[in-house]
Every structure is written in structure tokens, then in C-alpha cells.
Amino acid sequence: MRRREALAKLTGREQYVDDLPLEGFLWGMTVRSPAPRGRVTAVRFGKDVDWSQFVVVDHRDIPGPNVVALIEEDQPVLAAGYVRHVHEPVLLVAHASREAARRAVRSIEVVVEAEPPALDFRVVALEDDVLVVKGSMQCPYYVLKALQHALARDETRVRVVQTPTGGGFGGKEEFPSHIALHAALLALKSGRPVKLIYDRGEDMAATTKRHPALVRHRTGLSRDGRLLAQDVEVVIDGGAYVTLSPVVLSRAIIHAAGPYACEHVRIQGRAMFTNAVPFGAFRGFGAPQTQFAGERHMDVVARTLAVDPVELRRVNLLKDGQTTATGQVIRDSTDRVAVMERALELSRYREKQGEHTAFNATHETLRRGMGLATFFHGAGFTGGGEVALKSRLRVAGRADGGVEVLSANIEMGQGTLTVFTELAAARLGLDPDDVTIAEADTSRVPNSGPTVASRTTMIVGGLVERAADDLRRRLGLDHSARGADVKQAIRRWHLEHPAEPLFGEAAYEKPPGIEWDDKSYRGDAYGAFAWAAYVAEVEVDLRTCATRVIDFTAVQEVGKVLNPTLARGQVQGGVVQGIGWALMEECTWQDGAMANNQLTNYLIPTSDDVPSIRVAFIENPYPHGGGGGAKGLGELPIDGPAPAIVNAVAAATGADPRTIPVTPERLMELMEIADFGLRNAD
């Protein structure tokens, strides 16, 4: 099936939050802290502004507790006298004219008595009426919870509606609660609708980004290359507030040992408080950081022992019956070595290695190399997370005989609308046109959990099917009833029960045999892992030390592939994000603030920077996944590109990069310090 909303997006008809018509509204703006840490001693309002025409909100206007409710209740909605990071929101301003609001914000001076900030996470010590909000978000119920809490309203007086959402990637997991609260405060005080839209500069400077991480590995191996012991230390920069750091750290450390069998594993993780702008969810949620380190380390080990990196992985990749670092026994019958072999074959890994030896011997200033990464990604919430979420979903029967899926999971390009449609239609034998997906409006849809953690298709997709089954049961139909029979039964039911709602319901049930103990951190960390092997081919220009990815192969086992076009697109997009992360994307910090918060200076790959991404799936249906066996797919593709690419750079140049991005500057330093083969370029 084609993407359901494709045509609306292609023609520009899809209405994102800033596209919605709105009458008599005000533009909201945020006044932020200029300093990373200190007491707010004064707020000076510009004298040439007629402030009577503006709505101004500060922390005293918050009806409930001044916190953005998440895991901990430590982060204020608006700073109350003390700031803990640059760009922390202090005041809100609204006016009917956007330009006037901008000028007003500019005229306000927040005076901070600066205190010495902690900005380097590697050295600081370890410390322990109805309000309707519409917006771009991944988790409507997170936003609802935060609004209820800080505004002291019960859920009958707050409603959250997700609007079509551009690229989430985790950036719209926890952060939208802030924007929603700020817009709500201005609206409550002014009694008017308020629109709060960040431009790219404010977005990049003030919202959450991937946690910087430092990972150390010590590894013991047998003479034949088997992993005997892994000792891994993970430190991440959490920033000024807790946000999601504990769960990011959890996923980071659970993935840190890689998809390998090893009996003796110790992984220690810490998240540090600093005065940095808080870090948060970003595709992969900690796993990309630790798997970059782990997969790069595998190649360092291989080089140290003078063994082939492929063989080192072949010996150690998990086999059925072996356990992960948390003691989870893997028994999904996926042949992980076969996944790797397929990637080697499709990329012509061995042939290319030979070709590169010849190329590098004859070419004066170009060096080519191949790099491999084998990795995994656990889908769904970590540990007991899914049990705690208690996700619920409904499939309603419409009066016309069609059905409507009611869930809080949202479309942000990854394909929720299409996949849910396919699942409901296939389960009930309906035409896709007979299926609608409800707008994610908390006043209508049950809480099927957040749209994060690669959980939507695998976990919530399963709920769609079970809710469809439940609907059929409530209609008194046999399990085999399909198509016209179902439609007819729905229509008849409505005639017999006028004005009554009809729906089937499903709630999350833990698959049998899954056990997790949060105290000992032992057990089945995830219901299922997706497995992958990626191969990168790079070319390095020794004159400039610039690296280009010239070929890329991504092979993965993600259970059953429900929609090949969407699945391939997710992988290609993830790989290209990974290419950016590996080679060019870097936040430059100055006094705790992002200095390159522009797309001119924070570069992401263009179409001309990346090759076509070769994608292959090996299918091994997961019995408890949606659609007869889907596993999580969304985050997996960001885990593998960086290590594969950097391993390829190492193979091409002899340098040993351990920090990403491998910018030309960094690579040149490495090669000159190491006295590697820049001789040719000199």
C-alpha cells in the first residue's frame, strides 16, 4: 500500500501546526537566559515599548507546580529566580504582530549574577474551561500530563491534539511539553489563542539534542579471538535537568556490549548534571553512542591482534541459546552470521578490499577502505517499561460499516497511518479505504503510549490487530468473518444501537516468557532485537583529509517487513543521518550555548554528499509483533553507519579515529600525530 497521506504532503495540502487557520490569535515568544548558571537578579523591560499592549507571563503566572512533569519533577516551566543553562526560558511575551513581539523580546534584558557553570561532563563530580493545545509532537499524553500538572487542571479541562508532525526523531518526545505549557500560559493570561513557533535558530539552540557520551572499553579475548571479558564504562552529559537521561543511559548501557556472546561483562553508566542545555531523546536513544564505541573497538581489537575484523565478529556474534549482557537468552532463530555474510556479499566486501589495495598503491592522494559494523537494537520500552505503560487502543466500527483506529501514536513520516491502515484492513478483510485513523486527540483516543522506541509497529501494531479481533467478537462474528460480512455487521449493529459507540479494545499484554528485574538489571531487556550488518566504502582525500562515503550496504533482520517501500525509506534515511553523524554533524559549544545553531554551520548531508543506499532485509517473523511478525525498525539504522564508516576510514588511512564526527580537521590531526601516511600528501 502507498503512504496514506503522501498526496497531501506532496501537494502542500497537509496542514502542520503553523499552517492551521486561526482567528484573532497572538504570536508567543520566549525570553531566555543569557548565562549558563546563576541567580536572576533583574528583568529589565525596554522603556520604548508600550508594555500595556503585550501579554507577559513569568513563573508567578503558573497555576500549579512550576515543573514540567516527566520522570523527575526538577525542570521548571519558567525559571524562578535561578537559571541552570543558557537559553532556559524565563519569560513569555505575546502580541498580535510577530515583528512587534520579536522587538519586544529583544528589548528585555535578563540580568543573571553568573556563577561558575559546569560545562564539561567528563570532569564534573557525580551528583545525585477546556484548554486545547495543538502541535507537533510524538507523545500527546506526555504533553497532557505536563499540562495537567503545572496548570493544575484535571483531564476534563485540558485537551491535546497532535497536528501533522515534521521530523520527530525523538526531538519531539519530551520537549513539546515545554512549548505547550508556554503557549498555554500565554493563552490563559491573554484569553486569546496563542501561536508559539520556534524558528530554526531557536530550535537548534534551545531544544534537546543527543547526549554527548564518553565510552571506555577494556576487553579480554582468548587466543582464538573469543570474547572472555568486557569492561565498559559509559558517561553521558545529561545537561541541567534530568529529562530522559536515566532511560537514555539505560538503553545505552544495555546495548554497550554489542550483539556478542561474552560470559563476563561489566558495564557501568553515569549521567552527569552540567549547566548545558538539557539533552534528550534522539533516534537510537543512547544505543548509537555505545555501539559506535563498541563496533569501533572491535576493529581496534582486530587490528591489535592482527585478525580479520570479519572473523572476529563471526566468532563472537550471538548464537541462539547464548545470552546478552543482561542475561537475556536469545532464541529467535535468526542467523546473525548470515546477516553479516549477506552484507559482505552485497557490498562485494572481499573483492573491494583487493581493489582498494591496488588503488591505494597507485593513487597519490586518494585512499579507499571498507568498514563493517554488526549491531542490534531492542524494540519497545526497556525492561518493564511496556508493562508500566499499559498501552490501550481501540478500533471503532463506524456507522457506514468502516472502522476507525483510535490510538495516541502519531505519524511523523515513519508510516504509522499507512501501517495501521494495512493492519486493520488485513485483519478484518476490509479495503484500506474503509479504514480511517483518528486524529491523536487526547479527548478521543486512548493512551496507546508514546511514539518512540521503535515500538509503534511491533507493539502498538499488535494492539490494532487484537482490537480488531475484539470488535469482531463484540459483533458476535466468528473469527473467520471478513470483508463484507464485517461491514454489514457493523452497519446492522449501529441500526440496532442508535447513538451508542461501537469499538473493540486491546491492552498490552506481556509476551509469555519475558521477565525483567529492574533491581538486578537482569533479564529480558526487550521483547525482541532487530539485527543488522552494515558495510561502508569510503574515499579519503589526503590533501584535505575529507572523507566521502562512496558506497553503503545495509542488511537487517527486522522480523516481517510490512511495507517494503516505507521500510527501505526508513533505513535509507537512518543511514544518511548516520553518515552526517559520522562525518560532519557537530555542535560547537561556547560558554554552554550552541554557537553553530544555523543550518549554514551545522551541516547535514545533502543529496550530493551521499551515495544511493543499498538495502536488504532478511525476514524472520517475530511471533509477538504486529502484522504477523514485525519488529522495531525505526532506530536501528542510526546505530550502524558511524562505526562502519569510521572503521572504513581507519582501513583506508591507517589512522585510528575514536571521536565522531571525523571531520577533516580531526582526521588531519590524527594522521599527523600518528605520523601515518600523509607522507604522500606532503
Binding site: T544, N596, N601, T663
Partner: protein
């Protein structure tokens, strides 16, 4: 914001004479960047050049190519004759953003924006381009390699308008354009180089390594003289480069990287001309 909307060059010059603080605007690709939040820029006056038809054409004359002040990068990319005679202009133009910017950005705008990282200016300077300025007081021509006097400072009086860029037609025996950026497309140069050789001699022009784009006279001297025989590695170029440029550390790169990358690119791209052993001939004139 105040916009002056002239319909002819004389009218534009009159307006500029009356209000020399007015900022001439052609494609707007530099002036409108981050426009909504640059409130201070909203309080200025702009002189809109977009309707001055006389400034548009790219004109071939017997001994020169004249780029009107409104000639865009895309105009140059689409002119096959430019690709034959001044290929560095086309190469540079293709490095300026992508089609959306190439279609709007002008060569004259690139000159007066005076960015040390400009893409078009090095190519123009390597071809000995001249900037033609006009005001109510008359016409003035300034060679591009003497146009800049410091960071974002240039020899253009506030009442003067750049109306054209003149490029002499010559036979070039060697010409290269190199842009070292952080990605292939749409990047701001960390090092830019344009090098030409003709009967007029060598021109080596560098970008992003000094407060202005400039000719590297010490490197040119090295190429012009027997001293080039002593160059057998990129390191050997460092003394000359140190005389010519003074790169800095900034948000995009480091001084050290810029120095080394410039030396290596120059050394390798001009490999045929360095060192004692080979009889050196320009590539365009290969040995039989």
C-alpha cells in the same frame, strides 16, 4: 524597512546620492539570511536593483567578458562559452549553494558582500577582473585584486554602485578551482583556491585564509622563478604561504588545518610545476 525602487540606473544613482546609507540589493541571498530575527537590519533603507534591465546582460566583447551587476551564477553556468573560456567561473558558480541560490545570487553581490569565504571572487580575481563603479560623479574602475582594504572593507564609496565586472579574454595554459568545504554541496569554504597561468603570469588566489580574498604573491613569485625547483613537498610551500595568508580558528575550521590543507592542495594540484627533475610544462601543452 524602507525600500527605494528605482526603474533606471540614473534614478538609482540619484537615490544613492541622496541616501548613501541605502544598501543596494540584488538577489538578496546574503542580505535576507535570518531576516526575521535580524531586527536591526529592518530599520535600514534598501535600494532595489532588481528592475534595472541594463545591469542584467552578460556581454561578450572582442577582448573581454562583461558581467552586468545583475548577472547571476546561473546565467554563467548556462553559458557554454563561459565554460570554454573561463571554466573556473562555472566551477565556482556550481559551488555557490544550489540552484535556488545560483538563480538569485549575483557576481557583483558576491564582490560587494566582501566575504573572505566567497566562492565567486577567487575565480574572478584569478582572471584579473576589474570592478566597474558608477555614481553621479562618474565612472571608476578598480582592479579586483586591489578592491579590498580589510575585513569587509572595500574601495567603494557609499554613493557608488557596482554596475559591471570586466574580465579580459586571454589564453590560459593552466587553471584550477578548489573549494575545501565540510561537505560537497552548499558549504562555506574553509579554504578556497583559484590558480591560473597565462601570458600575464601566474595568479594564485586564496579564500577563507585571510580577512579578505587575496592574491598569494609569494606563491606566485615562487612559481614565476627558479625557486620552484626547490619545492619537493607541501611543507616547502609553507614559508611562502605564511607570507601570503593568515588563517584563523573559527566556527568552521582551524588555522592549522587551513594552512596545511592549502599547502597540500597547492602542492598536488600544481605538482607538474614543482621540483627539480621534470621539464615543466603546463598541462594544456602536453609533451608529445
Amino acid at each position: 524597512m524602507n525600500a527605494l525602487l528605482p526603474e533606471s540606473i540614473p534614478e538609482a544613482l540619484d537615490m544613492l546620492a541622496r541616501d548613501p546609507a541605502a544598501v543596494p540589493m540584488a538577489g538578496g541571498t546574503d542580505l535576507l539570511v535570518h531576516w526575521p530575527v535580524r531586527i536591526e537590519a529592518h530599520d535600514r533603507t534598501y535600494l532595489d536593483l532588481s528592475r534595472l534591465e541594463d545591469l542584467k546582460p552578460l556581454t561578450w566583447k572582442a577582448d573581454e567578458l562583461v558581467l552586468g551587476a545583475l548577472t547571476t551564477y546561473w546565467d554563467v553556468i548556462r553559458d557554454e562559452r563561459v565554460d570554454r573560456e573561463f571554466p573556473l567561473l562555472v566551477q565556482a558558480a556550481r559551488q555557490v549553494g544550489a540552484i535556488q541560490i545560483q538563480a538569485r545570487g549575483t557576481w557583483a553581490g558576491n564582490v560587494v558582500n566582501a566575504s573572505p569565504a566567497a566562492d565567486g571572487v577567487p575565480a574572478l580575481m584569478a582572471y584579473d577582473a576589474t570592478v566597474v563603479l558608477e555614481s553621479r560623479r562618474g565612472r571608476e574602475e578598480v582592479p579586483l585584486d586591489r578592491f579590498y582594504s580589510g575585513y569587509k572593507e572595500m574601495r567603494r564609496r557609499a554613493d557608488q554602485l557596482v554596475v559591471a565586472i570586466r574580465i579580459p579574454r586571454r589564453t590560459y595554459s593552466f587553471q584550477i578551482f578548489e573549494k575545501v568545504g565540510s561537505r560537497r554541496a552548499q558549504a562555506i569554504a574553509k579554504v578556497g583556491l583559484a590558480v591560473t597561468h597565462s601570458d600575464a603570469g601566474w595568479r594564485v588566489v586564496a579564500a577563507s585564509v585571510a580577512p579578505t580574498i587575496r592574491r598569494c604573491l609569494a606563491v606566485e613569485r615562487l612559481l614565476e622563478t627558479g625557486a620552484r625547483a626547490g619545492v619537493s613537498s607541501s611543507e616547502d610551500l609553507s614559508p611562502a604561504i605564511a607570507q601570503d595568508v593568515a588563517p584563523i580558528d573559527d566556527i568552521r575550521s582551524s588555522a592549522r588545518y587551513r594552512n596545511r590543507a592549502m599547502a597540500r592542495v597547492l602542492y598536488h594540484d600544481l605538482k607538474d610545476f614543482w621540483g627539480p627533475l621534470l621539464e615543466r610544462r603546463p598541462r594544456a601543452d602536453p609533451l608529445p
